[in-house]
């Protein structure tokens, strides 16, 4: 943005992607954790640790989310720290609210950490286990959760109840409570609150209760329930991730037209969201209040004679207009008119034809893929036709080519629908979480997006390597092979930032080993040690072709810092500085040296943002 020049701005932004990737769908996300008091000490502490992880990563990744914590099946109901928050909420027996839904702050997390430190000893006495059998009413617990979510005071977009337990059956299946609990499932469905159970044991059986409860709460058929892997579920929860209910968080609904008057409804999803750093803010030094910085475009009209500003107004980024010159005449196209060009066709997807799977090149990329899943709500019967299409494409190795306009004012794109299948139940890999049954939407690059590069200048006959060379690299590959584990790959810079923030705010030490770091070449050398001598015999030493432009420093090093023209040591003498000022030679000092002069001789610490010109002016006025 630093190169922005209002005089000549030719960029026409394709803002559609920004819209599509925006996570805010008017409302906040909320997670309400419910911990079953039936968990034995060790598992209870594991559950609390999971929640701590979720709290911390939640604060770091998406600070606006609301989180809450409730204990279920307790004997006592000690009030939360913030007493008045339960004013219009009835806390049933055997439940205790620890934290109502709140945006997390430093104080809340500190309070939670304090609680955790003493939980091992005090949980049994302060909260206890419901008598006689540790079974409080499940239905009441759900009612409390619904109430907490509904009365949280914020508009919610995606609310989840996460139940950490190791009890497979909260009530005997013949009991009245069991039926009451199941009824609550349909309440959840109606209110669009998501319910997830995170088992604290690995071999958790969903059959006695949860399979039915969960499928009811999502209004899906019981035979489409896929048993999640408990361990994986816990691991991802710690990252404040959950398998998201497909109904809630799609990027959009659309109809897929298969021909005249034959349409099915579907929805699409993203596999990942934008890479987000914690929100950067400006803070007032004196009272730590948050200062928002807004960039504004201001237009001013000046009276030429008096140089007085006669009119001043602000315009939005979407303001202004585009110009085309036709001879001497200028035609204006408003942004709104251009937007209308985007809006020429209603959103939707249209089937254009099919190709064989092999027609899609191995590497073809212009924008991240999406996932498509049927939606039986808009057009009833979509799911069956979708399944038939998906199944036949899968079996016959076909892909569907479509034209897709995902939403109003977006850009129509050609897409390939590639059928994909959910992982087998025994697949415990992270990749198994990737998707379910459905179509992967591969965006096809437009002809103009593909650069035609003539590589004839690179293409020489002696480029071909010898077979020994190939063998050598095969050996290296075998030695240095790793398994791709997406969960272990994180942005190193972000991790350092997060660790520093936690250290500053919560005095939280993150171990260095826990951070992602660039790999150590020495270790790699060691593993391929025995092949390295052959490397030097097979390949000649590198002779880099002569650089055409010697003026520029080598591009590998990036641009080197400017060499100072004046020695630093001289600057400590004020006489020397005085002479510089007198001879107007301050310009030959670097900005850092000017700062040094100001600091040493005038006792002034200029602002970081001060430019060289400002610094020189400051010195000159101070010395005058």
């Amino acid at each position: 943005m630093s190169t922005w020049n209002p005089e000549y701005d030719v960029e026409l932004t394709d803002s559609e992607d920004e819209i599509a990737m925006k996570r805010d769908f008017h409302g906040r996300e909320a997670i309400l954790f419910v911990v079953d008091a039936n968990l034995e000490t060790e598992r209870l502490m594991d559950a609390l640790k999971l929640i701590r992880g979720a709290f911390i990563s939640g604060m770091l990744v998406n600070g606006k989310d609301l989180m809450g914590l409730v204990f279920a099946n307790t004997k006592h109901s000690p009030p939360p720290q913030e007493l008045q928050c339960l004013e219009n909420i009835v806390v049933p027996a055997n439940c205790a609210v620890f934290l109502p839904l709140r945006q997390l702050t430093k104080a809340i997390v500190e309070h939670y950490l304090e609680f955790m430190a003493s939980a091992e000893e005090l949980f049994a006495s302060e909260y206890g286990l419901a008598e006689p059998d540790g079974r409080g009413s499940f239905a009441y617990m759900i009612r409390l959760c619904i109430e907490l979510l509904e009365k949280c005071g914020k508009k919610l977009n995606n609310a989840k109840i996460v139940y950490l337990t190791d009890v497979e059956e909260p009530h005997p299946s013949s009991s009245r409570e069991f039926q009451a609990a199941l009824q609550k499932a349909s309440d959840l469905e109606g209110k669009e609150f998501e319910f997830q159970v995170v088992p604290m044991t690995d071999d958790f059986n969903y059959d006695p209760f949860y399979k039915e409860f969960i499928t009811l709460s999502r209004a899906i058929e019981i035979d489409s329930f896929r048993v999640p892997d408990a361990q994986l579920q816990r691991e991802i929860l710690e990252d404040r991730k959950l398998r998201q209910d497909f109904l809630r968080r799609c990027l959009g609904h659309f109809t897929l037209s298969l021909g005249p008057n034959v349409s099915i409804s579907a929805q699409y999803y993203n596999y990942f969201y934008r890479h987000v750093y914690p929100k950067k803010v400006h803070i007032m030094r004196r009272d730590n209040s948050v200062v928002q910085k807004r960039r504004q475009i201001i237009v001013r009209q000046e009276d030429k004679d008096t140089e007085q500003i006669t009119h001043e107004y602000q315009i939005k980024m979407t303001g202004g207009w585009y110009e085309c010159k036709v001879g001497g005449e200028v035609l204006r196209v408003t942004t709104e008119q251009l937007n209308r060009v985007r809006n020429l066709h209603p959103p939707g997807m249209m089937l254009l034809g099919f190709k064989h799977r092999s027609a899609l090149p191995d590497v073809i990329y212009s924008k991240p893929c999406n996932f498509m899943y049927p939606d039986d709500q808009n057009i009833i019967g979509s799911k069956r036709l979708f399944r038939a299409l998906w199944q036949r494409c899968l079996e016959r190795e076909k892909i569907a080519i479509c034209l897709f306009l995902c939403k109003r004012k977006s850009v129509p794109r050609y897409v390939a629908l590639v059928p994909v299948e959910a992982a087998q139940p025994d697949d415990k890999n992270y990749r198994s979480l990737l998707s379910g049954d459905g179509f992967k939407i591969v965006y096809l690059p437009e002809s103009k997006h593909i650069r035609r590069i003539d590589l004839s200048d690179w293409n020489k006959i002696d480029n071909t390597a010898t077979d020994e060379g190939v063998d050598f690299f095969q050996k290296v590959i075998r030695k240095l092979s790793v398994d791709y584990q997406p969960n272990l790959i994180n942005d190193p810079n972000l991790e350092v930032l997060q660790a520093n923030l936690l250290a500053l705010a919560l005095n939280f030490k993150t171990e260095q080993d826990g951070l992602t770091q660039l790999p150590d070449p020495a270790l790699q050398n060691k593993r391929i040690e025995k092949f390295l001598p052959t490397y030097e015999t097979i390949f000649e030493p590198e002779i880099e072709p002569a650089k055409k432009r010697t003026a520029k420093p080598s591009s590998d090093e990036g641009s080197a810092p400017k060499m100072p023209k004046i020695e630093e040591s001289q600057l400590s003498s004020y006489e020397f500085v005085e002479r510089l000022i007198k001879d107007k030679l301050l310009g030959s000092c670097t900005a850092n040296q000017l700062r040094l002069i100001l600091d040493q001789h005038f006792d002034v610490k200029p602002a970081k943002s001060a430019t060289k010109a400002v610094l020189i002016e400051r010195i000159e006025t101070l010395s005058a």
Binding site: F272, I283, E302, G353, N493, A505
Partner: protein, 701 residues
């Protein structure tokens, strides 16, 4: 920076005998080329030559009168494209035509123009010839000379005509353009077509149909692309010098000049600071950078923490991974890089070739950290996918960015194969028919037949149009032609359906078949539109938008409010009910008016109750508290305080000592204070609560 400009001379057939279809298509084709160059702000030079005009006006003809007759060249020199040029071209092409005019003469003039244009130092010189090679006799004396010139001077020639189709060459299996054979063709037509075909072998010309001609014009390859120099290190010993070239990038080519204000106005971008919506003007030294950690701001700059040193630029090797283990769905970013060896570095070329071949044999890819430069220092995890060398390019690696774990979403999609979605054999058959009848790839037997499009594919992946850009260009073109300035005119232009529907249709050859298949499908799969979800959504929205308290109370109003004034029997209940009704009024002014009238009623009731002989202290307490609270709620401080004074007078007048001490004083029902009481307030309150002078007689006793 190498110049990527080109100089393009377009030779157009305007003879009266040429097919009308060809002439229309030629003009359209030229307009498309110009529009594209204008809108993407290219600095290419373009000019035109007309063949078949009544007059002769060109450089060669000026030099010698009998040379190149019936050929007219547009201006002296080629020029940069702009909208004015397009308008001039539309006029120029209407030169009075005749039957004469030879295509070789047109080419000759175009070559002469290209020679003159060499001073413009363009990277590429091209001629586009759009001609009807029909029954008119033509001279071919200069054929060898002109085709030789083209070859010698490295001028690319593209020849487009309307009756071209394609077959696959029997030997090379590559598509080849041929003229559609017509039985009526005379010997001149055959000769003309023969010579046109020979251009392909004589001077590497491209012979193509109109659609392909446009594609060929736009298909410009770059010999000197921008490169990113990087070194791939595996360990510290193995190092390969590479250059990254952008292979695909999702970007908009439309470059329009954005204007923010009238010319006499100045535009500035300013930064303003706000604290909770109030503008502040802090000094730079007052501010410190920081980050939000949940709801807590945390100061963060280099004075507080030690920032890690910058990473060195290049590709830092992580490990070899199986290609199949990298899910495409995790590819991120908006571009695809291709890595080749450093130009001229044979050793790196050999290493890269060996690495790529080994990777392919092992079905592996490379996982790396990419550090772009010292300035753009954020590491990105990338995967390098091998690509074996071909005839026209060396071994390369595709470089794709991967998303991080922290970004990943995990969805829970119910299985699709359920009893409810099970299909019978007929249904599956219908789906199969749809798939077969909409096959975009021509089957083997089709390839023997001449076809309209070059590739064996109705929608080749490398030739997909940019629909939005095309629409913008078309709209701008019309706007320029009609010089449509007003908004309604613009709207009328957009309403023209042809603009978009052109793209939103099944390719013509399979359109009919696909319609039938879809019809059959519809019969077997019942589909029914449902608006239940929409209604549910609307209901929910309404519920969320309306203030919750209002809704609740409105229900009360409807059900139980049957009174219209506060009575003496149950004043507290009445007042409560009526108050609810007042609260439910959405218009604030109305609400205040209603409250005032209700409050007046209540005051009368309270005074009446106070005047009774036997006071009901409980009731008085209740009504006074209620009234006081309601005044607090509706901000009616002055009224209450006035009333409180009245009560005190009343109490003193009627000597209501018990009422005064046990209700007013004890329950603190005195005047209302706004916010924290000041000293003055406290004095005032103290004065109020001081016992009034009661009469001697105790009436209550």
């Amino acid at each position: 920076m190498a110049s990527n400009k080109e100089c393009l001379i377009i030779v157009i057939d305007v003879r009266s005998c040429a097919s009308e279809e060809l002439k229309l298509k030629s003009v359209k084709c030229v307009a498309e080329i110009l529009k594209d160059k204008i809108v993407s702000d290219k600095k290419d030079y373009v000019s035109f030559v007309l063949v078949g005009c009544k007059k002769s006006k060109n450089k060669l003809n000026t030099a010698s009168d009998n040379m190149c007759q019936n050929v007219v060249q547009f201006n002296e020199e080629p020029q940069i494209c702009n909208w004015q040029l397009l308008l001039e071209f539309f006029k120029f092409v209407n030169e009075p035509p005749c039957d004469g005019g030879e295509w070789l003469d047109g080419l000759d003039v175009a070559v002469a123009m290209q020679r003159a244009a060499q001073a413009l130092r363009c990277a590429r010189q091209r001629i586009l010839l759009l001609y009807d090679f029909n029954y008119m006799p033509q001279r071919y004396d200069d054929y060898d000379r002109i085709s030789g010139d083209l070859l010698k001077e490295e001028i690319d020639l593209i020849v487009g005509s309307h009756n071209i189709s394609y077959i696959d060459n029997a030997k090379s299996n590559l598509p080849q353009a041929i003229f559609q054979v017509s039985r009526k063709a005379n010997i001149y037509e055959q000769a003309n077509q023969k010579y046109a075909m020979q251009l392909v072998s004589n001077c590497n010309a491209t012979l193509c149909s109109f659609k392909e001609a446009l594609a060929s014009v736009f298909n410009v390859s770059s010999r000197r692309p921008w490169v990113w120099n990087a070194k791939l290190n595996i360990g510290s010993v193995i190092a390969i010098n590479l250059q990254g070239i952008i292979a695909m990038k999702n970007e908009s080519h439309i470059k329009l000049k954005k204007v923010w204000a009238e010319t006499e106005e100045t535009v500035e971008r300013e930064e303003r600071y706000f604290i909770k919506g109030t503008e502040v003007t802090p000094l730079p030294e007052d501010l410190i950078d920081g980050y939000m950690l949940g709801g807590t701001p945390v100061p963060y700059d280099e004075t507080l923490v030690e920032l890690p040193p910058a990473h060195s630029p290049g590709l830092h090797f992580v490990g070899f991974v199986k290609r199949s283990s990298i899910p495409d769905a995790y590819f991120s970013g908006n571009s695809l890089y291709m890595l080749v060896h450093q130009k001229g570095n044979v050793v790196s070329a050999q290493k890269l070739d060996a690495l790529v071949r080994a990777l392919i044999l092992q079905k592996c890819a490379v996982l790396c950290w990419k550090i772009f430069s010292v300035k753009f220092n954020t590491p990105r995890i990338v995967v390098l996918v091998p690509q074996e060398s071909t005839v026209d390019r060396p071994a390369t690696l595709y470089m794709l960015e991967l998303s991080y774990h922290a970004q990943h979403q995990f969805w829970d999609f119910p299985a699709l194969r359920t009893a409810k979605t099970e299909c019978n054999a007929d249904q599956l058959q219908a789906v199969d028919t749809l798939i077969d009848s909409m096959d975009l790839e021509c089957t083997l037997q089709d390839t023997q037949q001449p076809r309209q499009q070059r590739q064996n594919d109705l929608l080749p992946f490398d030739g997909l149009p940019s629909i939005f850009e095309q629409n913008v260009m078309d709209v701008l073109e019309r706007k320029v032609i009609n010089s449509a300035k007003s908004d309604p005119q613009f709207k009328a232009m957009l309403d023209d359906k042809n603009l978009v529907d052109f793209f939103w249709r099944v390719p013509e050859p399979i359109e009919q078949k696909s319609k039938q298949a879809a019809k059959a499908l519809k019969k077997l799969f019942p589909l029914e539109h449902s608006h239940a979800w929409l209604q549910k959504l609307k209901a929910k929205e309404e519920e969320q938008n309306a203030p919750p308290t209002v809704k609740q109370e409105r229900r009360d109003t409807q059900t139980s409010i049957s009174i219209d004034s506060v009575g003496l029997m149950t004043p507290a209940e009445d007042y409560k009910q009526l108050l609810q009704k007042v609260r439910s009024e959405i218009n604030t002014t109305q609400r205040d008016v209603q409250f005032q009238s209700l409050a007046a009623q209540m005051r009368v009731v309270i005074i009446t109750l106070l005047e009774r002989n036997k006071l009901d202290l409980n009731q008085l307490n209740e009504v006074l508290t209620l009234y006081r609270d309601s005044c607090l709620e509706f901000n009616s401080f002055a009224e209450y305080n006035q009333f409180a004074a009245l009560i005190k007078t009343k109490a003193s007048e009627r000597n209501l000592q018990e009422f005064w001490s046990s209700i007013v004083v004890e329950k603190n029902l005195g005047p209302l204070v706004l916010g924290e009481p000041t000293l003055e307030d406290e004095l005032r309150l103290k004065a109020y609560y001081t016992k009034p002078e009661f009469g001697v007689e105790d009436q209550e006793g």
